[in-house]
Symmetry: C2
Subunit: 107 residues, 2 copies
DNA sequence: TTGCTATATGATTATATAATCATATTTGAA
DNA sequence: TTCAAATATGATTATATAATCATATAGCAA
């Protein structure tokens, strides 16, 4: 049935979790291996690996094997655009709410 | 601590669930009341109300009361841009995967 | 008031998710 | 071969989430 709609939700869900957002942010600088990623984001190796595998499965990350190391990278630049837009919303909301507080403080 | 990072995740999480995506898609046409939304997306009133409340809380939707009706609208155009980008990723991935299948079929 | 319509919310249940610990697997090097 | 490093995965647990049903609340109209 709604395989496309669910796929869309899966893609967005991949980008909506703090640990995964930390990974993606670290990968803004480019391809990195797991051994670089998990210390950088200060998460356990196994947890990091799960999130990486999950994001690769959902088409967010690419994966490349080189010897014993696995390199991951953000596969589509749209991923960064999505996060940048979401950050704009966060900023707008913070401004909006501080504005609302000022309004109400004014009485 | 990471209130900003968690807020970012919350915003994206608001956009990563099938029912909420149906709501947002319906609201592309503009502001609508709950009584219009839940039949359009074919979900229960109470479930729809919860998602609407949740998205309003996270700054995704605006809310306006008019008599007994409550009108919701998408608050930031960035929301649509995010979803459009995610849909691009879905399309790219579908193409990519069918390409991969063709590669392997070719042997 | 009474009653009707619109919306929200409490309680519950089922399911999904994230994190953790322990361990398996793979690969290159000694 | 044996070993160590890198990565993945099974089992478990705690928590979050979505949906549902029943009911509460708010506001308008008769």
């Amino acid at each position: 049935m709604s395989s496309a709609a669910n796929y869309l939700a899966d893609v967005l869900k991949s980008l909506s979790q703090p640990t995964r957002l930390k990974i993606i942010d670290f990968l803004r600088a480019g391809e990195r291996c797991v051994c670089e990623i998990f210390p950088a984001i200060d998460e356990e190796q196994s947890n990091t690996s799960r999130h990486l595998t999950s994001m690769q499965t959902h088409g967010i990350l690419s994966r490349r094997k080189e010897g014993v190391k696995i390199y991951y990278a953000v596969k589509h630049p749209e991923v960064f655009e999505i996060i940048d837009r979401a950050e704009e919303i966060v900023k707008l909301e913070i401004d909006f709410r501080s504005g609302v507080i000022k309004e109400s403080e004014r009485g």
